[in-house]
Amino acid sequence: MGLEFLEGNEAIARGAMKANCNFFAGYPITPASTVFHYMLDLVPATGGVAIQGEDEIASIGFCLGAAMAGSKAMTATSGPGLSLYSENIGLAIIGETPLVIVNVQRQGPATGSATKGAEGDIQFTRWCSSGGMPVIALSPASVEEAYELTYVAFNLAERFRVPVFLLTNKEIGLTRESVDLDAIELPPLVERVRAESGSEYRPHAFEQPGDVPTFSAFGDQHLARYTTSTHDQDGYLTASPQVTQEMIDHYTAKVNEAADEIALYTEDREEGAEILIISYGITSRSAAVAVRQARASGTCISSLALKTLYPVPETIIRSAMKGVKKIIVPEMNMGQYILDIQRLVLPETSVIGVNKMDSTLISPSEILQQGDLL
């Protein structure tokens, strides 16, 4: 047990180590670089590898090779680097590669402001690679959650053989908080299910579309095949429309069918409330303050803070919306996750975005004012 004063990026590194991460590759970029610094401090000491690539493409490429050789791999970047990861993220999806990708978001577009926070990469993350396959993305609200969700991200990557995104923000990554990481209750560690010995290995085998294939690492007893091209369950190229669709249904189903299992959130429901704030990331902490202040002045209001952004936790969002007439969605962007909320609401519900991208946090009073809660 120990109380420490840590920045979010260090908590990410510690969460990764708690999940037995043994391979890290990254390229310097503010505000994500210190994740690499901490990993360089922690990973080699446990026998793993931490390496700087010549660019982001090489960094994620190293991770894909290592992950398929059996490593638990992670990379960390910020928005500009995510752009360069894009094509390899598609490879991770089609190759069913467990990988954790940290995006410590900063003010964009383009190079933007390196040392300023933002949440501008939400829909970019959802649609970050060609083909539009579903992805898993988690978003911590605090240094503690950065630790917890990094660990969970590894579990999900292993469980579903997919890249999992941790979408954080300079405002958590480089903000220090008093935390006791050892006191945080974590779920049991999940490791990818290995293919049985003796049997012939089929790298993408499934019976039901939502099944997750067993894994055999390059260098283990089976011969392994991995390909960026459209392939069948054996990893051989295919041009069959039927097999092609079956594989697409598989990538889709294994993530989407597990949406409820992947859904993480904190809910603060007030009986009879007709107003609901839906938030995520650092902004959910401003929302928490806004809710307290609104209630203090007699407003009946509920709050849903999402830790899982994708797949969209539709069940919990729909349940939280019951009886609600007005939904407020504060975001440090010009309105991104609100698109996923809008498609779930009943026509009579109004959805109000509280948005800014001036590189500062959205304050509780801005939520109260723009949400018409004063």
Binding site: D41, A58, T228
Partner: protein, 446 residues
């Protein structure tokens, strides 16, 4: 000599090789097979890594592991595989197109000297997309995109890699009778080794340029690129070297800084403190020690820094919140204490100073000219005090002064944080700074 147990590393499971009649890739695949038969590695420990390009179709014809990745990126996957599992024999098959788009990976694997083998099936154009020119298309070469002759210079892959540090580089033609042996040499080489194999694209480059088999050697001399061993300068392999250096470092260098609350505080509500100074004044580390001091007194704390990307110049503004309760919103809208140490800090804070209310106390270095403010102003000889100790201790002096003036928590808690977590020489300076900061208010009537 090793007993031959694998008479071939090719599989007939997926049918005959897919290449056009007369394509040089056939010869490259067969020569690689010959090399593997010579070396007799365990097939489960061999990974053939390819990317997009006709030669990228070859991996599945081998009865080994196969990793087929993005265009031009095969070297990166190969490096990841090798670093994660050094016992693997990792062989990259790529085309001249891949060497263009992935040129940086070629330079960097050569520079790092990671023990993979790179075989470039170099046929001077993009066969998969219609025969466009590549980085190795000879000058005057006719391609779909150089219809009246190439005017770009052709890249000498071997000498480029050698200049970047490749320990072993060899230029061959697909017709060389010893190609299998030379590939075996490359695989045996304990660092990065590459072969640039010139061969025929019978679909595009050969007919467009009316090439004959013997022309490949002539093309080399025309381009002033030698046939044979171009570089052999072995040096330490990256994976071996880096693991050795990590082993000598042994354990994690950073200590965990565990705070054990042992003092009492008098803070009843969330308190926001902004400290604004200049880069290089150790504002952020003084703030961290202050926050850790608060934690020693049982408080929760957050620290949010603002500074330009050039960390040694301009402002350094840090927001610290201490609170008996959990802290949600980490920015400070209405600070309780605002400390201005330098001109840079003042400049960055002018807009905020104008908005301060009378609940805020503004502690300001006495030499600075303050704009009009509603906050209560306390002028302090911060720089003068720091000069007597160490000018880098000015942040600690200021925070110790504020802690004393506000009676937030015992100064001993701040001393405990400094003593526990700072290097001894620095701690000694900062302990003096704490005393000096305390002295600015100690005994002063309020």
């Amino acid at each position: 000599m090793t007993a031959i147990t694998h008479s071939t590393y090719l599989t007939d499971k997926v049918g005959p090789l897919p290449f056009c009649p007369g394509c040089g890739h056939d010869k490259v695949v067969k020569a690689l097979n010959e090399a593997l038969v010579r070396l007799q590695p365990d097939p489960t420990k061999v990974v053939i890594v390819t990317d997009i390009g006709c030669i990228g179709l070859a991996d599945r014809y081998f009865n080994t592991n196969a990793f087929h990745g993005l265009h031009g990126r095969s070297i990166t996957y190969a490096c990841g595989l090798k670093l994660a599992r050094p016992e693997l024999t990792v062989i990259v098959l790529k085309g001249d197109g891949g060497c263009g788009i992935g040129g940086t990976h070629l330079l960097n694997v050569a520079r790092r000297n990671i023990d993979i083998t790179l075989i470039v099936a170099n046929n001077f154009n993009y066969g998969m997309t219609g025969g466009q020119h590549s980085v190795t298309t000879p000058v005057e070469g006719i391609t779909a995109t150089t219809p009246i002759g190439n005017v770009e210079g052709a890249m000498d892959l071997c000498r480029t890699a050698a200049a970047a540090g490749a320990g072993w580089a060899y230029r061959a033609t697909g017709h060389d009778p010893d190609l299998g042996e030379r590939i075996a040499d490359a695989i045996r080489e304990p660092g990065f080794a590459m072969l640039d194999i010139w061969e025929m694209c019978t679909a595009y480059y050969q007919p467009r340029n009316k090439l004959k088999k013997k022309d490949l050697t002539n093309m080399m001399s025309l381009a002033n690129m030698d046939h044979g061993l171009i570089a052999h300068t072995p040096r330490p392999e990256y994976g071996v070297s880096i693991r050795k250096s990590w082993q000598s470092a042994k354990t994690s260098t950073k200590r965990r800084m565990i705070v054990k609350p042992q003092f009492k505080h008098t803070v009843t509500q969330q308190t926001g403190i902004i400290i604004a100074g200049s880069a290089g004044q150790k504002i952020r580390s003084a703030a961290s020690s202050f926050a850790q001091g608060a934690m020693f007194a049982g408080l929760k704390a957050t620290q949010k820094d603002d500074y330009p990307i050039t960390v040694m110049t301009g402002h350094s503004v840090t927001e610290i919140i201490v609170s008996p309760e959990a802290i949600d919103y980490t920015a400070i809208e209405s600070p309780d204490c605002f400390i201005i140490i330098s001109e840079d800090g003042l400049k960055k804070s002018r807009a905020r100073i104008a908005k301060l209310s009378d609940i805020c106390t503004l502690y300001v270095e006495q030499s600075l000219d303050l704009p009009e403010t509603r906050a209560k102003v306390v002028r302090l000889p911060l720089m003068q005090t720091a000069k007597k100790i160490d000018r880098l201790s000015v942040g600690t002096i200021a925070l110790a002064a504020v802690c004393t003036d506000r009676g937030l928590f015992p100064i001993e808690a701040l001393e405990a944080a400094v003593s526990a977590f700072q290097k001894q020489a620095i701690a000694e300076v900062n302990l003096m700074a704490i005393k000096a900061g305390e002295g600015l208010f100690f005994g002063i009537e309020k």
